[in-house]
Symmetry: C2
Subunit: 405 residues, 2 copies
């Protein structure tokens, strides 16, 4: 059986994701689709709207055959590490192709860019250093540096977030000597960060989340942008668990964590750079919401995403010595769910798997899964009462979601 | 001027405290009374009902002339350390007498007991070891050990909490070579831990707190047991800050703190004994309230108080290496409030003080005051919104309470 891999967050699964999934299967002629999906916390350093289990169900009901969890160690990191983890999952799962969405949509431009970057490595690093020295954030410096070196149509625009991710997928495929072939599909309409609905059926996840956190009446407005199965899952989740997860749910915990820490303890957390610890402490005491806190600590030097990741690692008690390793690939394949077709694919490749397939947590130990478990416990604290209790028990108690066709 | 010292928590200040204060002044013929009062967290390992500022005001309005804060390092500890800190404050403040309430009420019995314990030190330690080995808690083993060695009327009953404290006050006076004279007054009526009202005007602080956390109508029932000024302070506090503080207010934070910790991190916290860390972790995930959590972790081996102190040190991020020192005396006198008479006394002794007198935090640094500041920040998180904001700002912003007569 031929398998196509996709790297996703599905926060939540919407029509743009559906389009990409269908195109990926069609373009590659794959029999099964496999997703490497972030768990409960995402690359932008924020909690997923709904748990990984609810998002897995959305994915399976919309046509994904197998969902593996991208561990916290990779899921909450900058593009390079995020891509390394994702590629290693899809590669270990036997995917023939990795198909990613990009603003460019042209694989040749990606290859040209990679070759150019290799040949001009030093000059590029110099440029990046120059622009960060000017006080720009790292992503901004990358884009400015590249622009100043290679303003040509034969390259991708590396200021676009999905192009950057794509670049790293291809680089990871090369460095991991994976036999997967990269493929790319032009993203339809909505930009990643767009907050407003711009098309009749395709909207960015950002704009959908914005509507979900709006007034009760607003939830209905997302109906046209998501599959019916997603809509149902969202309504169910809200009813069942008590609401959607946002950083604000965790603000009392983060505030407490900050106020009980000394500056030198804060410096131990992953991504807390010299000097940031005092800024965090000063803002914590005087902020009454996460939004207010973020606005107090934001500077030109750090992107919002970067600062959210800092907050996340502090919230989850994730230290530098835990995350700063040279680990570039996952240690296991954690199965979150599969369709019947997905299961027969898994049965067919089981004996050739180079990594342990983890369907339940009992009996399996690994430092990365410890991180995932801890993250899930903390994610659960974003709800209270029964919702919290159920989220806590799901991590250990529930088997992967097995969709019957 | 002659000064009498008292060691207090005033949680809240009630008629029993008033009786003790008046007796202390009368018996000793003192011109001024000085209290060493625990800050926001208490010896039983729990948050004070209302902040140290509100309790200082209660004390001053009821006739205490000067209130110094007993630092967290001493206030949240077993009787011996609690007594050492308290005695060192009152001694440094120039008190001529330390007057404590006790079940015994007979100073000679205290002296007899101290002499007996010195002479039988080894046999007593053996007995304690034997009873703890049998699975009894430390305080229970003390009482059983003493009873088996010295069942005589000429000694105090060391199973009574205020007798034990008194014993340690006298021992600290001796070991610190303080010139203070100990005095004791028999406690009236209510036992320390009594939960029910037993007299027309005197009730234990425990029973008063119980009523305060009851239904709205119950608050009025405490009126006869506290001075009017206390009653007013309590009503004001509730209105102004949003409610009284109990462990339940901090349970979401403690639960989070536990769930984000590894067992080996928990072992680092003060008073967490070998093996307890796993018990704490297992109970945290499945408990929905502090009460439920405590009931899950309680065993014969640990007293409720001891376990609450463990929880408190985890909540305030207080590690073994911070608390395990040989420090037996305070480093400073932190003034929380004074009457006019108290102020003139302070002026008269100022130049002879052996310790810094701290009236405002800015400009004064000390590891113990860092602990107090951290504890106050965390105490504030027991309220939300405006109440929390105000509690946070008071620690730094407000001068000592100066009562005008």
């Amino acid at each position: 059986m031929k398998a196509v891999g996709v790297v996703v967050e599905y926060n939540p699964f919407h029509n743009g994701h559906l389009y990409h999934l269908q195109q990926a299967k069609e373009q590659t002629g794959a029999d099964v689709s496999i997703a490497a999906m972030s768990g409960n916390f995402l690359q932008r350093g924020e909690p997923a709207l709904v748990s990984k289990w609810a998002r897995t169900r959305m994915a399976l009901e919309a046509g994904v055959d197998i969902v593996f969890e991208l561990p916290y160690r990779f899921a909450t990191q900058h593009a390079e590490t995020f891509a390394e983890g994702s590629v290693s999952i899809l590669s270990a799962a036997g995917c023939d192709t990795l198909c990613f969405g990009s603003e460019s949509g042209d694989l040749e431009s990606f290859h040209n860019t990679i070759v150019f970057l290799e040949e001009n490595h030093e000059a590029f690093q110099e440029k990046i250093k120059f622009f960060t020295g000017e006080g720009h954030s790292y992503p901004k410096s990358l884009a400015l540096g590249f622009q100043s070196l290679a303003p040509s149509d034969s390259f991708i625009d590396i200021s676009r977030p999905n192009n950057i991710l794509g670049l790293h997928y291809i680089q990871a495929i090369i460095s991991q000597k994976s036999s997967m072939k990269p493929e790319t599909i032009t993203r339809k309409n909505a930009g990643y960060h767009d907050e407003h609905f711009a098309s009749a059926t395709i909207a960015s996840a950002t704009s959908i989340r914005k509507a979900l956190f709006g007034t009760a009446g607003e939830i209905g407005t997302i109906k046209q942008y998501v599959p019916e199965t997603t809509y149902e899952q969202l309504i169910n989740y809200k009813e069942h668990y008590g609401g959607f997860h946002s950083w604000e749910n965790y603000w009392p915990l983060l505030k407490y964590k900050l106020l009980q820490s000394t500056p030198s303890e804060l410096k131990d957390f992953y991504e807390v750079e010299e000097g940031l610890e005092n800024r965090l402490l000063a803002a914590a005491g005087s902020s009454d919401s996460f939004q207010q806190f973020m606005e107090s600590i934001k500077t030109k030097r750090y992107t919002w995403t970067r600062l959210q990741r800092v907050c996340l690692h502090i919230l989850t008690n994730t230290r530098k010595d835990t995350m700063k390793t040279n680990q570039k690939t996952v240690n296991y394949l954690r199965l979150l769910g599969a369709t019947e077709k997905g299961r027969s694919y898994l049965n067919s490749i089981k004996k050739d798997l180079s990594l342990p397939l983890v369907a339940k947590l009992s009996g399996f130990t690994d430092p990365d899964i410890e991180l995932d478990i801890k993250a899930s416990k903390i994610y659960a604290l974003g709800q209270s009462g029964k919702g919290q209790e159920q989220l806590l028990s799901e991590e250990f108690g529930r088997p992967p979601i097995m969709l019957k066709s």
